[in-house]
């Protein structure tokens, strides 16, 4: 049962990245791909109905982690204290930028929020990628299951670990580029006119950048956490996920060139989903690896809630999950087709 909850929690994190990823990516690119106020409002109309629901996947994944692996949540969030608050502040600014921007028709007001939105959309994936980097690399967990890391220390490969160091920042930049690629493909699919054309051009160079950075990060992972890659090769599930993400990557490239925009976006989604699933499958059962002594690591076995709590969770979780899928289906159906900038004063 612990394995099942590990899969559910990791799966919800992966869904979160795919979903919020497209609006992060669109936000990170929008200053470049949308130049006029009308074009910016088209980008906001494309992500507007979805972004809050997408972010709920983060909360729901956090809730599941809280329920099933409270020690992991507690140790991780308090150990990464300052980085977590940076992420929270970035998410606050981003949400406010989206919601407040179009309420006032004033050029300076809108320019300010456009800039805030872009900056926050760049920082959020970098921070999330760095978080994943920390999880893969491991943290200095002591025997009591707690740790503290400085926000940053040395950025040299031989120096001291920090929440942000050369490896995790590399992971963060990789995440940013992959998510920008994802967001570009979303905009290609959901918009038309100049925004779609510029997004298509952006996707064309973001694709090789994603591949190159992904390869580079994999090499770096080989250096800092060799076990993870070994796990990936040894476990059939991890291999299947690896094939999924490679296939997704290929589809995102081919389908974009053929103009099958939805398929290209789904390919990119499969890439992100497969990459995270493969990572989870290779690190299982470890949630947080200790760099001090592997015996201190927090795993799905030693950090899980009692079986009774896990069993109760299974009573209601499937209903909630199905409902969430239903809501998103309704939402995407009602907002099908290309997004148009809303009339001034309606929507975003």
């Amino acid at each position: 049962m612990e394995a099942l909850w590990f899969a559910l929690a990791a799966g919800m994190v992966a869904i979160y990245v795919v979903m919020d990823g497209f609006d992060f990516g669109a936000g990170a690119l929008h200053l470049g791909v949308a130049r006029s106020d009308g074009e910016r409002r088209q980008v906001l109309a494309a992500i507007g109905p979805f972004w809050d629901g997408n972010e709920v996947w983060l909360l729901a994944a956090g809730g599941v982690l809280f329920l099933a692996f409270p020690k992991v949540l507690a140790s991780g969030l308090s150990g990464f204290y300052l980085a977590i608050f940076l992420l929270i502040w970035v998410l606050i600014l981003r949400g406010i930028a989206i919601e407040f921007r179009s309420h006032v028709r004033d050029e300076m007001w809108r320019t300010f929020w456009d800039g805030t939105f872009a900056l926050a959309s760049v920082l959020a994936p970098v921070l999330l990628g760095a978080a994943l980097g920390n999880v893969v690399r491991g943290v200095p967990l002591g025997a009591d299951g707690w740790f503290a890391l400085p926000l940053f220390d040395s950025f040299s490969p031989s120096g001291a670990l920090g929440i942000l160091d050369w490896y995790t920042v590399l992971a963060g930049v990789t995440a940013l580029v992959a998510i920008a690629h994802h967001g570009a493909l979303f905009l290609v699919w959901k918009t038309d006119g100049p925004v779609a054309a510029r997004s298509r051009a952006a996707a064309a160079w973001l694709f090789p950048a994603t591949v190159a950075l992904w390869l580079l990060s994999s090499l770096a992972t080989l250096a800092v956490a060799p076990d993870v890659l070994r796990g990936a090769l040894a476990r059939p599930l991890a291999l299947v996920c690896t094939l999924l993400f490679l296939a997704g990557l290929a589809v995102s490239f081919v389908a974009r060139r053929q103009g099958r925009d939805l398929l290209a976006f789904l390919g990119s989604a499969a890439f992100l989903l497969g990459l995270l699933a493969a990572t989870a499958a290779s690190v299982f059962p470890t949630w947080l690896a200790s760099t001090i002594d592997p015996a201190h690591s927090l795993t799905a076995h030693n950090a899980a809630s009692a079986p009774k709590a896990l069993r109760y969770g299974l009573f209601w979780w499937p209903f909630g999950f199905v409902l969430a899928i239903v809501y998103f289906t309704i939402l995407f159906r009602l907002h099908r087709g290309k997004a148009r900038a809303a009339a001034e004063g309606e929507g975003y």
Binding site: L59, A60, G63, S78, H103, Y327, G345, E346
Partner: protein, 453 residues
């Protein structure tokens, strides 16, 4: 002050108090929007939908603030209360996860439809979107209140030898009698906030002679709902809360009333300053025997004072607790009077011409926010020194690896960010109020309605 716990408490208290300013408004408005849209659907009169459209815009702004200030709350269980989370996740993790899955998805999906979809959906489906949003926001209130109720009155759990809590009866935990009482009272408090806000805007427009139709609708709906909510928040729900506290947290009740000595025929203090060092209430004005009645339904019942309990179990801020409770109850009494008088005038069709009453209504809207905040301070300060009542002390709950300097850093960050966001929010709401309801599908701003005005 070198104790990090102080900063963790300050940060949690500050961020949750700020967060709750918005949900109390949106939960209240969600119900009133359903009422407006429902009447609009039945009568087919445009003014109801015009008023609803205006309130949906205010709802949207407030909801955005509720969302962005709610996200930090979820994280702070882990960042600031790590030991608490590690030990109780097997219980309160259930409701926090349910809130995300059952409530937040519902709210976030249907809000977009409510704000944008009036033309696309047509009146009937647009009404249903309002209902969905109402259900979502009231569900999220239930799950979070249940979480808090477990901390106030833990039920349905067992504690392992390692001190870890596990839920053993999901039904007992979800239908905790404390949660039901707390929920009904909290929701009525939220309706009070929403309805006083609605009445205030209606009164303001009426005073200025602007937007006469939506003004009349907002005023009437707001005033009637305000009276209903003000009565219900006191009787039976507030009274019932008081009884629960008397039964399960007698030491908190004694502190709320500044009552140091035990005895029968306990009076209710209307005014007075708790003097904890001397253990008495200074300059009291007392209503004889009323406290005995509130707490036990019997004018002669014995109500225990603080002296009967070990000092280590006393709430650690008796003064603030006492004032918070009295502010809430005092304001609650005033709300009944104000809303009652306004309803009387409305019924006699004199409200629109009673300018003094319109002034009072236009200025009254901040007070339900204060009453709700004071109510939560009563609940949360009264819970001290326990994090989970009787089972886990607040001092045991902090994050072992976060020092006071880090916590102060983030408190300052929140203070600055929230100040700016709060100012922007108020400015935008005033902008909307000045502009009034927009016709369906027309451009937002007239030529003069440029930003910066």
């Amino acid at each position: 002050m070198d104790d990090p716990l102080f900063w963790h408490r300050l940060q949690f208290g500050f961020t949750i108090t700020y967060h709750y300013l918005f949900p109390q408004l949106t939960m209240g408005l969600a119900l009133l929007i359903v009422v407006l849209k429902g009447i609009g659907l039945r009568t087919g009169e445009a003014k109801w939908n015009d008023a609803a459209r205006f309130w949906i815009r205010i709802f949207g702004l407030s909801f955005a603030m509720g969302v962005v200030t709610g996200i930090p709350m979820e994280f702070q269980f882990g960042t600031n209360w790590a030991q608490f989370s590690a030990r109780t996740g097997g219980v309160i993790g259930q409701t926090l996860a349910m809130e995300g899955i059952f409530a937040f998805f519902l709210e976030s999906s249907f809000l977009a439809l409510l704000i944008w979809g009036e033309r696309k959906l047509g009146p009937r489906k647009h009404f249903l979107a309002a209902v969905a949003l109402f259900v979502g926001s009231w569900l999220s209130g239930y799950f979070i209140v249940t979480t808090n109720a477990f901390m106030q009155h833990p039920v349905g759990h067992e504690i392992g030898p390692d001190g870890v809590f596990t839920v053993v009866s999901l039904a007992a935990f979800l239908f905790n009698p404390w949660a039901i009482a707390q929920y009904l009272h909290t929701m009525m408090g939220a309706v009070a906030t929403g309805s006083f806000a609605m009445a205030a805007v209606g009164a303001y427009w009426t005073l200025r002679g602007e937007h006469p139709e939506p003004a009349r609708v907002s005023l009437a709906t707001g005033v009637i709902a305000a009276l209903a909510a003000s009565i219900l928040v006191a009787m039976p729900t507030g009274h019932h809360q008081g009884r629960m506290v008397a039964e399960h947290q007698p030491v908190a009740l004694a502190a709320m009333e500044g009552r140091f000595e035990s005895g029968p025929n306990a009076p209710l203090a209307m005014i007075g300053q708790p003097n904890v060092a001397e253990r008495r209430l200074d300059n009291p004005i007392l209503l004889p025997s009323i406290l005995s009645y509130i707490a036990y339904g019997d004018f002669s019942a014995n109500v225990r004072g603080l002296a009967e309990f070990p000092e280590s179990d006393w709430p650690d801020n008796i003064e603030l607790l006492y004032y918070a409770f009295h502010i809430m109850v005092g304001l609650g009494t005033i709300f009944i009077a104000v809303a009652g008088l306004a309803t009387l005038l409305l019924w006699r069709q004199k409200l629109a011409s009673s300018r003094w009453m319109l002034w009072i209504l236009a200025l009254a809207f901040p007070f339900p926010f204060i009453a709700n905040t004071a109510g939560w301070m009563t609940a949360e300060l009264g819970r001290q020194p326990w994090l989970v009542y009787g089972l886990m002390r607040t001092a045991e709950g902090g994050s072992p690896t976060v020092h006071g300097g880090s916590a102060l850093f983030t408190i300052l960050g929140f203070a600055g960010l929230y100040l700016v966001l709060g100012l922007l929010y108020v400015w935008l709401v005033l902008h909307e109020v000045a502009h009034g309801p927009r016709p369906l599908g027309a451009p937002a701003h007239g030529a003069a309605g440029q930003g910066g005005d």
